[in-house]
């Protein structure tokens, strides 16, 4: 580590401030989030009611919490697979990143977390407020789920970055990573529980999802925050998140140093 905590904190803040300039983009994201939220709520509530009011641990109130927390988190985690790094590797600009006195993975991570935490203000919280006011949702009454949930959200944001970073670093070998990105977008959203919560999955598909890091990206933070998971189970799933985060970041580091040996940039 060539740079201290202060440097990374400044990068977090710069990411936060950069994102704060795109107000129209944030509002546009909110409109899309809320529209999808109402559609998701309509079909999932109908499913809960069709099974007699209780389904896989959900009633209408807790299903509403799932719908609006997932919509609120959508702007915060990266389930689209897009990142500037892929294009920078393709064009060779990444050489500039390597020349900087900060770690490449660490600096992108810091800026990503800063930018995505900002979206809580214009996208995350308003989505949840719209849902709570129009439909109503069941949320825990004690402080602990919110504190642990906050940690869990940040771990989810960082894990999504870790996965996307791996996809883009593969560009050192593949050059064109668009197909991989599309693959990531499909699989990560499905297994993160973006459109259907994972407890509704048939057991074989549920197990397949939990063999990937994607539940850690979105389903776990929602479960912890909404009080679906409490006590030891909540702590356990947050520890699983930490393990996945460490795993994907480590994989990214190994690939970065291998790619660096392969990288050849012309110019001067």
């Amino acid at each position: 580590m060539r740079a201290g905590v202060r440097t990374y904190w400044k990068l977090v803040v710069s990411g936060f401030r950069q994102e704060s300039h795109y107000r129209l983009a944030a509002f546009a994201g909110l409109v899309a989030n809320v529209t999808f939220g109402f559609l998701k709520a309509a079909i999932l509530f109908a499913t809960v009611r069709a099974s007699g009011g209780h389904l896989a641990g959900y009633d209408v109130g807790s299903m509403s919490a799932y719908v609006w927390l997932s919509q609120g988190m959508l702007g915060m985690v990266n389930l689209s697979g897009t990142h500037e790094l892929g294009e920078r590797i393709r064009s060779g600009d990444v050489a500039v990143d390597f020349a900087r006195p900060v770690d490449i993975q660490g600096s992108y991570l810091a800026r990503f977390v800063g930018a995505r935490v900002f979206t809580l203000l214009p996208r995350g919280l308003p989505s949840v407020v719209v849902g709570a006011l129009t439909i109503g949702m069941t949320m825990p009454a004690t402080a602990q789920p919110y504190l642990l949930g906050g940690v869990s959200i940040v771990l989810g944001i960082a894990s999504s970055f870790g996965c996307v970073y791996v996809i883009h670093v593969l560009g050192f070998w593949l050059v064109e990573t668009r197909g991989l990105q599309l693959l990531y977008m499909v699989v990560s959203g499905f297994f993160a529980g973006l459109f259907v919560p994972l407890p509704l999955f048939p057991s074989w598909l549920h197990d397949a999802a939990y063999a990937t890091p994607f539940p850690s990206v979105m389903m776990t933070p929602i479960n912890v925050l909404s009080g679906q998971l409490t006590g030891l189970a909540a702590w356990h799933s947050v520890l699983v998140q930490v393990a996945w985060l460490a795993g994907v970041l480590l994989l990214g580091r190994v690939l970065t140093s291998a790619g660096l040996r392969k990288l050849e940039v012309q110019g001067g």
Binding site: A25, A32, I43, T47, A50, S51, G179, F195, P202
Partner: protein, 271 residues
């Protein structure tokens, strides 16, 4: 001397042919693209199937009936996406100045935009929609008659027109939005998602948005109700199942109005 019609279309044909050749030349990347697009279709179908894994009837429909809705709507969306899906990337063209180049050429702007790209990978979604439709036609309680076949054909063509109109509409609005391009996702991709749902479960506001303003409910759900003989939910009358062409005309009028407004608003930065 070629006849005037083919001479008129020749530039578009040349551009599209070059795009198709270009995509097929990177074989590994193209194969991965096709595979991923197929997976997009499969996951979208799985999301519907999982709900029916938990309950047998949802919004008054069984899984075979909803498979019909999904098949019709998703295939229509995939074809519209193939033809016009790149139109909602207009802000990129505006920023890069590509749009100003379009103005210099002697073809209509919208026609050039539509012909500027075609993503063959989007065809890979069609088999999933087709399989769902085929399964639905066999497994659902379909009232077969010549009218049923006509209804399915008319609905499919109208569905393609409706979704294409949504893409054009998005492109027109993006002259104003630029950085807010994501807003149009609400009715383009939200429209696709809505079109595969049983609309009976919707609130009044959703029925107005996706049943009237952006009429995707006509691309699958309402016609399928006629095919399997189920009652239409309030406020849609029974004959609305046959009204997909009317919805398509409305969607195109709306789309052309959006596009005209957008073009009138646009001022090139030159260069």
């Amino acid at each position: 001397m070629a006849d005037p019609a083919s001479a008129l279309l020749a530039p578009y044909k040349a551009v599209l042919a070059s795009r198709i050749r270009a995509q097929r030349s990177y074989r590994a990347s193209f194969a991965l693209d096709l595979g991923s697009s197929l997976l997009v279709g499969l996951v979208e179908l799985a999301e519907v199937w999982i709900l029916f894994h938990n309950v047998t009837v949802l919004g008054g429909m069984s899984f075979p009936s909803i498979a019909l809705v999904f098949g019709l709507a998703d295939m229509a969306f995939a074809l519209a996406d193939l033809a016009c899906g790149h139109c909602d990337r207009l802000p990129t063209y505006v920023r890069a100045g590509t749009l100003d180049v379009f103005y210099l050429r002697p073809q209509p702007l919208l026609a050039q935009l539509v012909a500027s790209d075609i993503s063959l990978r989007r065809l890979a979604r069609c088999p999933v929609g087709a399989a769902a439709l085929g399964y639905g036609l066999v497994a659902a309680d379909v009232q077969w008659s010549p009218a049923t076949i006509a209804l399915l054909a008319v609905t499919f063509l109208s569905g393609c027109a409706i979704f294409s109109a949504l893409f054009i509409c998005a492109a027109g609005l993006q002259f104003f939005l630029i950085n807010g391009a994501e807003m149009t996702n609400a009715f383009v991709y939200g429209g696709r998602y809505a079109a595969t749902q049983p609309a009976r479960v919707w609130s009044g506001a959703l029925k107005v948005v996706f049943g009237m303003v952006f009429p995707v409910v006509f691309a699958g759900y309402l016609p399928v109700l006629r095919v399997v003989d189920l009652p239409s939910p309030h406020p849609f009358p029974e004959w609305a199942g046959w009204a997909a062409p009317l919805a398509a005309v409305w969607a195109w009028l709306f789309a052309i109005a959006c596009w005209r407004c957008g073009v009138r608003h646009y001022q090139g930065a030159g260069g």
